[in-house]
């Protein structure tokens, strides 16, 4: 029984030989050992250790028809989400969940429009078992592509499609943006505030739309002058706050659609000498450490579990894949809860 040449990885055959069992039994042990008698399990395990055996992924994949990999699709315009802590947290959640299930994360960056072909080919090539995609654009081609390739896909953030063709129910994970916004505004009202302004996010994103809807749920008779649109940046929040103050100097509260814009609002409020929360109460959304930790006064905000959302996306997908084998139905969407975190700004 000659040793294999160094550098060559040992095969299951080698393990079986060393343990004195058949390749099938060795395979069973490597895959959990169910239905194999104890002493044999131990023998095989020992052989695996001694040989440093690691299963050949390609061979396994060839027969199981499972790759053990999941694609994360990010559109180029979204490349900036890399610089958004929001995204990094989501990715981390995804990574954790996938890792826990021995599944790999294949990153697919769309550099330009022509890349959709590439992605389509890749997905059709059976390199991955499923896909995770983020904040799609209106009429994004991704859903059609994954559908055609037969790749189960879970979306991050409620898709905001307009075309009927893509309106089909797709599973997604999103925070309860509307409910969270409602809670924030209700809280401000309970505080006795009467002229509550809203700094909305870019209204072509569903998260911004949903938060605005939540605001309107509570303030049915909302005055248009109390509404300003920002771009989810500190700068745009400041600008929106200035506008609002000019239009309605008597406002006594602001609900910003995210923390960054709330921080911008806080800055302007301070510059204009308005006491927070004395004269104007401020509530944000997200509860991002990087922001709430630095504002003065500390920001009251609506918390959402971003990493948890990522984990959930992965879990939903993985569960769907398992069910797939059993020919069951697609997973439904999940809306994660939000919590109002009271600090000093309201």
């Amino acid at each position: 029984m000659s040793e294999p040449p160094p550098g060559a990885r040992p095969t299951l055959e080698a393990v079986a030989a060393r343990a004195g069992v058949s390749r099938a039994t060795a395979s069973r042990v490597v895959n959990g050992g169910a239905g194999v008698r104890r002493p044999l399990v131990d023998k095989v395990r020992r052989a695996v250790d001694e040989l440093g055996y690691v299963p050949n992924h390609a061979a396994r994949s060839l027969v199981t028809r499972r790759t053990g990999a999941v694609a994360v699709i990010i559109a180029e315009p979204e490349i900036r989400i890399f610089s958004d802590p929001f995204f990094s947290q989501q990715i981390r959640g995804i990574s954790k969940e996938l890792t826990a299930h021995d599944t790999q994360l294949v990153l697919l960056l769309l550099e330009g429009p022509g890349d959709y072909d590439r992605i389509a080919r890749y997905l059709a090539g059976g390199h991955v078992d499923g896909a995770l995609a983020f904040s799609l654009h209106t009429d994004d081609p991704i859903p059609a592509i994954t559908r055609r390739a037969g790749i189960p896909t879970v979306y991050g953030g409620r898709p905001g499609w307009t075309s009927a063709a893509d309106q089909q129910a797709v599973p997604y994970v999103d925070a309860d943006n509307r409910g969270g916004a409602r809670e924030a505004v209700r809280y401000l009202r309970e505080l006795g505030r009467r002229r509550i302004a809203h700094i909305a996010g870019p209204l072509d994103q569903t998260s911004a739309m949903d938060r605005l809807d939540g605001y309107r749920d509570v303030l049915m008779d909302e005055d248009p002058a109390l509404l300003a649109e920002g771009a989810f940046t500190e700068e745009s929040g400041a600008r929106a706050m200035a506008e609002l103050l000019d239009r309605r100097p008597d406002l006594d509260a602001v609900f910003a659609a995210n923390d960054l814009m709330a921080a911008g609002a806080l800055r302007v409020l301070k510059e204009r000498g308005r006491a927070v929360p004395g004269e104007v109460a401020v509530v944000g959304f997200d509860d991002m450490d990087a922001v709430v930790g630095t504002t003065a006064p500390a920001l009251t905000t609506v918390q959402q579990d971003i990493e948890g959302q990522g984990r959930l996306m992965a879990r939903l997908l993985l569960r769907g894949l398992d069910r797939d084998r059993e020919g069951s139905t697609a997973p439904a969407s999940v809306i994660t809860p939000t919590t109002l975190v009271r600090r000093d700004s309201a």
Copy 2:
């Protein structure tokens, strides 16, 4: 000749049958078509199109012993690099290059110390042909792991190992930090500045060390009071600037180790009423759009091509993989050039 059941991907066998050739010939065509007569090539190509054939990756990988995937390893403490535009640009460069070579990017996030085992197992499992790793810590276990697994690896940023064991030459890509810093400081001196301060980055990172070295190359007799250490953040740059001003109110120039810190310095300078560049000239490093676009005055800085570095890392690795098959030597490291970009701050 019955159609395959819908949903089942066509195999090479099916293509061959449809084209009326052997599987071997079909394979040749799919892989470039070298050594196959024209009419047959066309026939096979047509069959591929009609059937929508896409090669099965696992089967191919099993025989070629190539996975067509490369791992990008990121240590958890570095997870924040997601929020660093530096990283996102590098990743983009990597992604572009890999994509151009039909190679996939598998993202490996190290969540904790225990994960090194997982990574080791993964790399040893032959899931990827090579790896790309970023800014290693002192005595990082990654090099040993990749070496043991026999996975060719290229590093981003000059590794700063202290232990002799890891001192072996490993290929890396880095900007000419030292040279760039030298150029910046020389430029300030040519401007007639005599008391040139330096705001260094965290000195446990080689990029910060190298830039400091470049500064010292020019200012051999540097006064310790003119040196302050920051953390590559705007905030830390501001703090360092304040310190420096307190210690040496007469300084007339500052070279900051990155743009973010330069922005912080600019802010403090303005707060203290120092004219820039009149009284104090300021130079940064990186030339990050997000920063240089927003400072007033516009920031003079040392430009480096970050995306290009990423592309280079990937190219180096890919080239190394090809050479591997020919049993050639490992690729050498590459230092990318820097350029001083003159704007208004100096």
